[in-house]
Point group: C2
């Protein structure tokens, strides 16, 4: 008769600042009548943002997306639409052409695929003329039939790697490479792909310093129905799969199939609190000169009992590679004739290692191509594509757990703070049209701000980051349009304390210009600027005594004194002649949790009223005067009319 409740879960705090739609002027793009701005491609050297929407592709000025450079429409013919409707699909929504693939083919051509009324088709888009070349390639396996189905693709050296469904019903999933020389695909079998939802794919090039003759690898992120766990109903499991660019398929076994397809579980959970994030929503690969290896950022939500929980988990490439190159495999066993159970495979593993790329060692043993791999290796990888070991996140737990929000997409920027420490800034979008900006600091994650990108609260479907020096923007697409947001709103912080308390690595206080400036858009050194990622405001110059406002009120009346404060973490305190006032007494009341009402004024209420904000950072409370009012209550000598305040 006793069960313990309560979990010590460290949820991230609410974002410190909330920028409403009206607070910030964001650049927008929306073409009347065009919806589903879902596929983005940025050309950084041309400063052009290509946008694939429903039945249209746009080229926008990446520095100001409101400026449309080109547009081209790709509509479904009435004939096709009618045929699609005949098959029971909606003419108004499903039987249209949703652009799902937008990849660079060469400097002057884009490769574009659309669902095309359940007849996926691809074409080449010439960027010089901004015209389709009319190739009309069959898009089966590159682009889904159904706009509601998941998809992912990446162009690697002119060959398209994609994860999508292969048929009208969407029942045959496929991960494939479209190549004239060596097209490859997955087996159509449960151990390979079991009702997957594709999330993301990208290539990771071999390390130039690598001495083992490794290959470039293409990683696929998806989730699929679990085979290794058994639950009350279909349990989704997030996965990472890997194929080698040099894969040529097998000669007999696995002919025209991947010989290097291996997949593993991605773990994003907090078992001590029974939190299980198993719905993978998006992945971002952070790479760059500062990093010794690429890092995968994944956004997750729970499948079970989700009433608004989201998490970000981070994985190192090396921990992924460790599992694929040295981990144990899983095998299936049949129980009592009719049940299948997947367990760790403890037997002998053939050489070369099944699923491995052809490297120096394999070449030395005369296996120069997947085509001459031994049958034993191929048969093994065909039967054992799933690893038993899982990929665990760095620090063995989510980087960030947030309540009351469903995260949809993520991009990550790596910036240098003023003190030269490196910060990873996460921009994470929600299903309510907002963008959270969070930074990993020593003692946890700091959620700097939340920006309402879309006024209609429509889910953010796609995010893209441009981190070119001086041109850092986040682009977001939803069903209704596109938004371009700066990476920071430094200028909105009007005092040094506000600027430092923001703990935004992009922002620093310039005592010279008495303004909160954007660091990476400033030329020259950061000398003299003030920033402290721990929120220590002691470097700020003593606050210049703010001017006070003077008010006259009549005896018996009511006064409303204003005060404004952006931080959701600050507490507003009112003082009268230096004594703290108790709001919500019969005498005082707070309106909108900030403004002070004083009822039934008498001459004793004359004096100085201060509005202070108190915010605690690292156990230190920072107090700031937000407003000062001087009140004078005058007795009006006249036959008094008794004021009846109820």
């Amino acid at each position: 008769l006793a069960v313990v409740f309560g979990m010590a879960v460290a949820f991230a705090p609410v974002p410190r600042i909330t920028w409403e739609h009206r607070d910030v002027g964001l650049v927008r793009f929306h073409e009347p009548g065009v919806f589903n701005y879902s596929t983005l491609l940025l050309s950084e050297h041309k400063d052009t943002l290509y946008v694939g929407a429903r039945e249209a592709v746009f080229a926008l000025n990446a520095l100001n997306i409101a400026e449309k450079q080109h547009e081209i429409y790709w509509k479904v013919s009435e004939d096709k639409k009618a045929k699609c409707a005949e098959k029971g699909k909606s003419k108004q929504t499903e039987c249209l052409n949703y652009i799902r693939v937008l990849q660079p083919l060469d400097t002057n051509t884009l490769y574009v695929c659309g669902t095309n009324a359940f007849q996926p088709t691809c074409d080449h888009l010439s960027l010089t003329a901004f015209k389709f070349l009319g190739k009309n390639e069959d898009g089966k396996g590159r682009c889904p039939f159904d706009p509601a189905q998941s998809y992912t693709s990446v162009m690697v050296d002119g060959e398209l790697y994609s994860g999508t469904s292969y048929n009208f019903l969407g029942s045959e999933p496929i991960i494939s490479r479209h190549s004239s020389q060596s097209p490859l695909r997955t087996e159509y079998a449960i151990p390979w792909l079991n009702e997957p939802s594709f999330v993301f794919t990208d290539v990771i090039r071999r390390n130039p310093n690598d001495t083992e003759g490794e290959d470039d690898k293409v990683y696929f992120f998806f989730m699929e129905v679990s085979v290794e766990y058994e639950f009350m109903f279909k349990l989704m499991i997030p996965r990472i799969a890997r194929v080698c660019k040099g894969d040529q398929g097998g000669l007999r076994t696995l002919q025209k199939k991947w010989t290097s397809f291996l997949k593993a579980r991605l773990i994003c959970s907090k078992p001590d609190s029974n939190l299980v994030f198993n719905m993978l929503q998006d992945v971002f690969i952070l790479r760059g000169p500062w990093l010794k290896e690429p890092v995968f950022y994944g956004v997750f939500t729970p499948q079970l009992n989700n009433v608004g929980l989201s998490a970000v988990c981070v994985y190192n490439l090396s921990s992924v590679e460790e599992v694929f190159s040295r981990g144990k495999y899983m095998q299936s066993a049949t129980v009592e004739q009719s049940h299948t159970k997947w367990v760790r495979y403890n037997g002998a593993v053939p050489r070369p290692r099944p699923g491995a790329c052809i490297n120096s060692e394999a070449r030395a043993a005369n296996f120069t191509s997947s085509l001459n791999l031994p049958d034993k290796t191929l048969q093994f990888v065909k039967d054992h594509p799933l690893m038993d070991d899982s990929i665990t996140p760095t620090d063995n737990r989510p980087r960030l757990i947030q309540k009351d929000v469903n995260y949809t997409q993520i991009v990550v920027d790596r910036v240098q703070a003023l003190d030269e420490t490196i910060c990873d800034v996460m921009f994470i979008s929600t299903d309510r049209g907002a963008l959270h900006k969070a930074v990993s600091l020593e003692n946890g994650v700091h959620v700097i701000e939340e920006t309402q990108l879309f006024q209609d609260f429509s889910p953010v479907q796609t995010l893209l980051l441009s981190s070119k020096k001086g041109k850092r923007f986040v682009y977001a697409g939803s069903n209704s349009g596109m938004v371009q947001a700066p990476v920071a709103f430094c200028g909105k912080h009007s005092t040094c304390v506000d600027c430092v308390l923001a703990r935004d690595p992009y922002c620093a206080w310039s005592p010279h210009t008495t303004a909160c400036v954007t660091l990476h858009q400033e030329h020259g050194s950061g000398r003299g600027l003030i920033q402290d990622m721990s929120g220590d405001v002691s470097a700020c110059p003593d606050k210049v005594q703010g001017s006070s406002q003077q008010h006259f009120f009549k005896h018996g009346g009511t006064a409303e004194l204003k005060c404004s404060q952006k931080s959701n973490w600050a507490r507003v305190v009112w003082k009268f002649q230096n004594g703290v006032l108790k709001a919500d007494s019969p005498k005082y009341s707070l309106v909108g949790r900030k403004n002070l009402l004083i009822f039934n004024l008498s001459t004793g209420d004359s004096g100085v009223y201060q509005c202070l904000s108190e915010e605690t950072v690292k156990n230190k409370t920072v107090s700031q005067e937000l407003a000062k009012h001087v009140l004078e209550v005058k007795v009006v000598s006249s036959p008094p009319v008794a004021p009846t305040l109820l």
Copy 2:
């Protein structure tokens, strides 16, 4: 790159009315220095409530628990306490005597067991002298060693049935019967009990109309670590187990062990919304003359991703019996030497059916006692105590799902509304010291009210209902004390509309006395009373025009007009001269979401202000005038001092 969010989950609305601790005067009992009021026993014919707490047992007047009739202390000796502390337990908390068993032995004796500093001990409490008889029985197997561990017990015909742990470490779980003639227990084996948490037990007597010679049965409710599902970590599964009162154990196989121990999964989930409630918190058995069979009410929370979700599921006895008497069994199979998988057993089942009580059919086949059951049957039940079929709730879904709350305990009252329909009223406590009262109506569950029972928000550990006519109370125990609450607060509803909108089956409006009265405490018929469980207020007499309040204000001042409304579902609307006012304009503001502030008064503001509450019940909006104010603004002829409203 596309995943669908959002679930169409029908959460129950917030309770319609919230009674704060100060709103309702509840009868309380608390003995200074005594904590953990966890074990309750009601003697309805004596009107006495027995309370087992830490190191004490009290007899309270059940009609007024503030009145203590008797008390007896049972403290741990200093010597024992020291020995307990030597074993690494806390002297201040764990090495005390927590009363865990309080059961009637005969009309004048209670059977009492306590943890007794990790040396569980039982004694007889004479009710005539209110003294322990000093029996000092070993309580092992009846009462846990550790006060933090789960326990449940019930006295049936002088024999104690209990579920608890059997050793100091709490690692050996046991369900047993303590009997001089035929003591029985469970096997100590994973298939029987796998790290269980015991929740509830009670006997259900054979149906007096039964012709199959069935036995009385004792049901145990608990949860344990799943063997049938495989998850990322230990998954708890709620279970119901059943033993027969006539069980005597086996002769060779299962000697002194249950031959009738069978258990099955209790399902409480909503698969279409991925909601899984697998943590069983409490069970209540509803029985009575109105019911054709007993009904089990279970309170559940989720184990996974629980940030405040609770559910109530209801099960019929017949659906439980169906599974035990005709369902399939589970069997375990070994996979690859080291893994165990539980699957449905499809082979032949021996006769008599394993785990069945000895009934007429068995007797006719000469099996008059479990002692002469064939070895095959006994070996089978020993290996297959778990059923493959699950117990599904009525309507195949939870009766109630509530957000932002952790339910702990439940009692259910069955009452007759004025129109003679039968209503099941659920009283469900929370881990924050509150009590929810909900009623199942045709179109779903209506949460009538929430009452803050404990001011310190301590979790409600135990609930008990007394439903004697005219003496209906809910008793609640927490770590800090006891509370006695009436089943309804009818008198708090001051108008007919309020009384009817409450949709409380206990309450009806008496036009005669112009008061909202408690139905079942009224003598005589309900003739002339008004109640409508669908919330139709049309039977209420036309509201007598409420008197209005007159106010005079000075020009330029601010007025605050009051209004009060209890319903959390109602919207407050202010009208001026019959036009709806827009609050939160520069002219008007709402304080506390109800009272109206009018700024900068001018003569044009003179007139009639009405505060209305609007509440929508079954798509019909009921509007009620809550307050009426007549305002007169007077210009004071004097040299004006400009009022500066900011």
